[in-house]
């Protein structure tokens, strides 16, 4: 069965693809921190960040359409979180409505928060998309490992990535098996079989985990994951990191 990949375009060859994953991880972290820490309403700074991201996308040769499409996924979540802020935040009233006995007001400050949150999260997701699309997943994990991210996290992430598709396949097969036997079920029954499928999936994953662990033990696993080090910082890494650092610091000095 066909699945989309997280690192679909990671096989491209570009300046960004060639950087050390550690550089990319740290730079992404710095960028996200900078975006998050920028005060509400400093639009010029956001413009600089957007330019940085545009430059990164251009440098990494990722298809713009792909990046933009992927970045849409966060909007439902973000909107769900902040959509009510304009109605509740105190401040200068932009508009007010009467719906029956209910008096609704929208404030300028509230709208500003809404737009800020949306813009900030969009910038961050752009950054993460460029990171994950320009780095092979195993390289990313190597980078995390070498940056001393706790092993447990690295291993969990690795297993998640490896078995996500296996699990999805399994779920799809079970769903097909259910659909081929399921005539005229009412909604309640569908939820019931769905519950069974999820339960079965859990048990199967649990059993698979046991078998994987046995396979790991058989090859000398002792709780420590040892990684053969293939990563090396190069000169472009230094250039890139310093350039990004300057770009992130400049607006802060200019406009704060």
């Amino acid at each position: 069965m066909k699945h989309s990949f997280i690192d679909e375009y990671s096989g491209l060859d570009s300046f960004v693809h060639g950087l050390d994953p550690r550089t990319k991880l740290l730079c992404s972290l710095a960028f996200i921190l900078a975006v998050v820490l920028t005060p509400v309403g400093t639009w010029q700074v956001y413009a600089v960040y957007l330019l940085i991201m545009a430059g990164m996308i251009w440098l990494s040769r990722l298809p713009l359409k792909y990046v933009l499409k992927r970045s849409l996924v966060i909007f439902p979540f973000v909107i769900m979180v902040v959509v009510f802020v304009p109605f509740f935040k105190q401040g200068q009233v932009v508009a007010s409505y009467d719906i029956g006995t209910w008096h609704v007001t929208i404030t300028y400050e509230g709208l500003q928060v809404l737009v800020n949150v949306v813009v900030k999260s969009w910038l961050c997701i752009l950054c993460l998309i460029v990171l994950s699309s320009s780095t092979k997943f195993d390289q990313l994990l190597h980078g995390m490992y070498r940056l001393r991210v706790p092993q447990v996290f690295v291993q969990i992430t690795s297993f998640m990535y490896r078995y996500m598709f296996v699990l999805a396949d399994q779920a799809m097969r079970m769903q097909m098996a259910r659909d081929s036997r399921n005539y005229g079920l009412n909604r309640g029954n569908i939820f019931k079989t769905m519950g069974n499928i999820i339960g079965m999936l859990f048990i199967r994953s649990y059993e698979r985990a046991e078998r994987i662990y046995a396979a790991m033990l058989s090859r000398g696993y002792s709780g420590e994951v040892v990684v053969v080090n293939q990563l090396r910082f190069r000169l472009p890494d230094a250039y890139f990191a310093s350039a990004l650092f300057l770009l992130l610091v400049c607006p802060a000095i200019l406009w704060w």
Binding site: F137, D138, L141, S158, F159, Y161, R162, Y163, F165, V166, R208, R211, I212, A214, A215, M216, L217, S218, R219, G220, Y221, S222, V226, V227, V228, N229
Partner: protein, 244 residues
Amino acid sequence: MLTDKAVEISGLSYVYPDGQCGLKDIDLTISCGESVALIGPNGAGKSTLLLHLNGILRGSTAVKVQGLPVDDKNIREIRKKVGMVFQDPEDQLFSLNVYEDVAFGPVNMGFPAEEVDTRVKRALQKVGMRGYEKRSSHHLSIGEKKRIAIATVLSLDPGILALDEPTSSLDPRGKWALIDLLQKLPVTMIVASHDLDLVRCLCGRTVIMDSGRIVADGGTGIILGDEPLLRAHGLARDATAAGI
């Protein structure tokens, strides 16, 4: 310690944690260089027995591998000697790419990086999978996965290979290719399988297991020629159905 006995098992019993009996009084000695088939109906205890060979499961008495008893002290050495290939390659290939999977054993055994690299390349060469190093395991065909799974243990140069259903879910071409591959490997082999073609081609000796016991042990030709015996243990078509 040099010995010509690859595996020595005497009086081994094993009870599953849920109280179900797994193995009962198993006596089995396998010489170095022998290829032994373990056949028997589902649930006969074939896989359970295999898991005792490298100490994943431990029963009532210690199994001896090349003269070494399987215990905590020897476990590292034993796991280097016994290469365990699991039935579902999806369980065996847990890393993100083929190289890391094949390197997992050697890295854990503490070999230096260059040694690991040569071992990985040699193992992939042996199963005819050079050039697959950077591929991700999930996107390989089942036949390729089986081969890589064998490479993951060959990278430790085991003297004994324990294979659980190596030809299951392979198409005939893939199955014969795998049998050819296994025939070329110069190691002691213990193969649990339902695939009688594989058993005939690969193994000189066959052991039948049923309900956790060994019920027959002998030359493959003799055992597989004994229709009533096979029928009694669910390995051949029922007499009435076959019209005998």
